[in-house]
Symmetry: C2
């Protein structure tokens, strides 16, 4: 999974480097990739963390609501939840009021894992944002947050 550098380095055309969207896409992909690598070492995927985060932040929820919130296909969420439950990071229980629903909640182990993953994510972030000082990182975060809020939440990854 850890890919060495199969092709030599490159310096890219200014026409592309002048596009913020190009840089955004490239930097974003790299960051995502590096973090995904670390998750893979534990047999986890990005969605796993997204689900844990959503449960920790918003509390127990029915899978359907969780899927809507994360904009993931309910069928795919079922698979993620399955793995997480098998590993003991989440619990699933039939809702007694409406027994079709499965309420998912994060366990203590899940919270602990989330904290660890968050730390790892920040480690990767430090690596990626190394060229920026604390103030600049703050600025970047705020700009990105505003851009993100402005985007119609179509569909993305985790």
């Amino acid at each position: 999974m850890a890919s060495e550098n199969p092709h030599p380095a490159a310096d890219l055309p200014p026409t592309l480097l002048d596009l913020s969207t190009y840089l955004l896409s490239r930097v974003g992909k790299t960051a995502r990739g590096r973090f995904a690598e670390r998750l893979a070492e534990r047999g986890l995927r990005l969605w796993d963390m997204a689900v844990l985060a959503a449960l920790a932040d918003f509390g127990p929820q029915a899978q359907r609501d969780l899927a809507a919130r994360l904009a993931i296909d309910p069928s795919d969420l079922a698979k993620v939840a399955d793995q997480l439950a098998a590993a003991g990071y989440v619990q699933r229980a039939r809702d007694q009021a409406d027994r079709r629903r499965v309420s998912v909640s994060v366990t203590e182990a899940g919270r602990a894992l989330l904290a660890e993953l968050d730390a790892q994510a920040r480690a990767v972030q430090d690596e990626v944002l190394a060229p920026l000082d604390a103030g600049e990182r703050q600025v970047l975060q705020e700009l990105l947050l505003r851009v993100h809020r402005g985007m119609g939440e179509r569909r993305g990854g985790p």
Copy 2:
């Protein structure tokens, strides 16, 4: 190819939104996706533009050098070049000094196409960066550029 919004909107866990790398990845993916959509309408892919840009910026080159520069597999580049040549956007000619090499150069049509694509890319960028004013976009561009330069150019997309 144009995906409607198959799942309802979502508001995401603060734990994730607090990670710049998460935002980077998400915003980048969206931008990339939107631009790719437009390219797809013309039967083009992201690599096509990358190749045109490299040729326009750096002049005619052997495919091998072009592949190294863009960090794409030579075999994959061959396929891209093939399509571009068939459409008349690039020309391929055997290097007379070394007849193994194929020198690729962009045609007038290719330059015209690149200009159009660049305009479209900027249109998408305007859309994505809508929440930011001109000064903020400038700041973002510079921060991203520095981050990008700091990244070991492992491998990415186009």
